[in-house]
Structure formats: C-alpha cells, structure tokens
C-alpha cells in the first residue's frame, strides 16, 4: 500500500501543459522530490524559454525566468551568491541543446554546483513543433516535413553522452518517463542529484525523455508506445557518469 499527496511546491491548480504532456509529470516529480527533501522554502527554480517556462505559473517556490537557453548562466550566478540554496534549472531540448549549448557545456565544464533537469521531447513544443537538435531521424516536424534527414541536418544530439565525457560533472543520467518503472527511477535519480548538490559535490545533470502529443500529432497513449519503439532505442536510459561509484 502506498500513499500519495499532491506536492506543496506546486500551485493547487492545473498546469498550463497540454493533456498527456510528460513535461507536467517531470515538473511534478521535481516538486515531489523537493517536498521529500524538505527543501520547498530553500529551492530556486531557474527556467528559460519554451514549454519549461510554464513552470513560472505552476511553481509555488522561488522561480527565475531567464533568457532563451541562458538558465545555466543565471543559475551559476545565483548559486555563487547563495551557496546554501538548492538551485536547479528546468529546461527543454530546444532551449538546452540548441540555443543554450554554449551555456550548458561551459557550466558543466566548470563543475558549477547546481542541478540541470533537462526534459527532452525531441521538438520545439511551444513555438509549433519545429525540428530540434534532438529530433529523431525520420521524425516529421513542421520544419522537416519528409522526416529528419541526416545529410542536411545531422544526427540527434545525445546530451548525456556529451556531458559525461567532461571531467567536472559528478552525476549524469537519463530516464524515460513513459512507464511507471521509468518514473520511479527518474524520481530516485533526481533525488540523488539534489542530495549531491546539497553536499556540495558538483554539477549534476538529469535528462528526462518526454513526449509532445500536440506536435507529434498523436493521442497521449500512442506517444508512450512511440517512445518505446523509437525514442528509447536511440536515447538509451541509464547512468552515464557517477563519480561516487567510480571510486
């Protein structure tokens, strides 16, 4: 038997996300973990532009909205000024893997002591479903109508793999949110990352594979199947770097 209560870190109202959007689930998981750690008053959520910015309306604690892709730069400043606070950025894939690539790689390379929660739905959700760097090969979007072609647009970018080769990050992991097991693992991963940050160990990066029913043009339940057959084989979930385990 289990009990579940809606986290206090979320406003008592429906989020702005579309029906079935796993972004909302990712936000709720972060809120769950923050409540469990008793950090509701201490946490600072840094969001930038995209669907992730809808956190501005549904988050009860401190939130900072930053320029597109610049959340890791803002979080660096916040964490250096307020080292006691739990600082995390919540970003989407268009935001983190495209326009904010310089900021995320630099922050990871410096080993800044904050957490990045990266929701990867393989498309630009808020602006109308354009192709993102993480869009899968053959996936149709409004700017790749015949499916993404590697000859003109390259291959989907694997952010976890990229960041895990850097020296400074202490915990890099990817989880898929389309099954209860994946959600439970993701919750443990987020908790581990936040605990590492609170102990001052260094940069932690959590990638959460999500969906976009609206822009993929599917009903929510079909997107979960699509993730099983297409997304997960390419973006393999797992822990890519854990400095504690390496010792």
């Amino acid at each position: 038997m289990a009990e579940y209560k809606r986290p206090k870190s979320l406003m008592p109202m429906a989020t702005g996300y579309c029906p079935g959007c796993l972004h909302a689930l990712a936000t709720r998981l972060v809120a769950d973990v923050i409540d469990e750690l008793g950090q509701a008053e201490n946490a600072i959520n840094v969001v930038s532009v995209g669907c992730s910015a809808l956190n501005l309306y549904s988050w009860c604690g401190d939130v900072i909205g930053s320029a597109h892709g610049r959340a890791p730069a803002v979080a660096t400043g916040v964490k250096r000024c307020l080292p006691e606070r739990l600082v995390f950025t919540y970003q989407g894939d268009g935001d983190l893997a495209a326009i904010g690539l310089a900021e995320i790689m630099s922050a990871a390379n410096r080993g800044e002591n904050f957490t990045v929660v990266f929701a990867n739905n393989q498309t630009y959700g808020m602006t109308g479903g354009q192709m993102a760097p993480t869009t899968l090969l053959g996936q149709k979007t409004t700017t790749s109508r015949d499916g993404r072609d590697c000859l003109t647009t390259g291959y989907p970018m694997k952010m976890c793999e990229l960041i895990s080769v850097l020296e400074a990050p202490v915990f890099v992991a990817r989880y898929a949110l389309n099954t209860p097991k994946g959600v439970m693992d993701a919750k443990k991963g987020i908790k581990k990352a936040f605990e590492k940050q609170l102990r001052g160990e260094g940069f932690t990066f959590i990638e959460l594979l999500t969906n976009c029913p609206t822009n993929w043009g599917m009903n929510p339940l079909d997107t979960l199947e699509y993730m099983n057959t297409n997304t997960i084989p390419y973006f393999t979930p797992g822990v890519f770097k854990d400095k504690e385990a390496e010792k």
Binding site: M1, A2, E3, Y4, K5, R6, P7, L10, M13, A14, T15, Y17, C18, P19, G20, C21, L22, H23, A24, L25, R28, A31, T179, P180, V183, M184, P213, P220, L221, L224
Partner: protein, 68 residues
C-alpha cells in the same frame, strides 16, 4: 482510497492505462473544464498501489491507504 480531482484532470488516460487492477474507467460526462476524467468503478478491488497517482502528469490523483 483514490481521490480524483476532476478540475485538474485533462483526460490523458495514463492512470487507466497503467492501473494494474483495471478498475479505472473514463467518465461518460465531461468535467466543468470540458474533459473526460477517470472514475474508480470498483473501490473494493483497489490495492492503493498509487501507480495512477505516480503516472498522473497533473498531480490530480491523491491516494490514501484504506482504513481497516
């Protein structure tokens, strides 16, 4: 006991898909917000595993353990 807040539910159906006892069903009527929402059709069979609450993107489901 499973409590579903129909004002927060957007009718994605994840709770119905993942309920191991298959006791959640989509409502016949729409909520005030215009969405269909899940209803528990067999309270006694519920084991309060809270998988419905775990998978709910909106946090619209709250689970309390049975009193007995």
């Amino acid at each position: 006991m499973v409590t579903i807040n129909s004002m927060m539910c957007k009718g994605c159906g994840y709770c119905i898909r993942f309920c191991p006892k298959h006791i959640l069903e989509m409502s016949k009527e729409r909520s005030e917000k215009g969405h269909f929402y899940p209803v528990n059709i067999d309270e006694k069979a519920c084991t309060t595993c809270a998988i419905c609450a775990l998978m709910c993107p909106e946090g619209a489901i709250e689970v309390t353990s049975k009193e007995d």
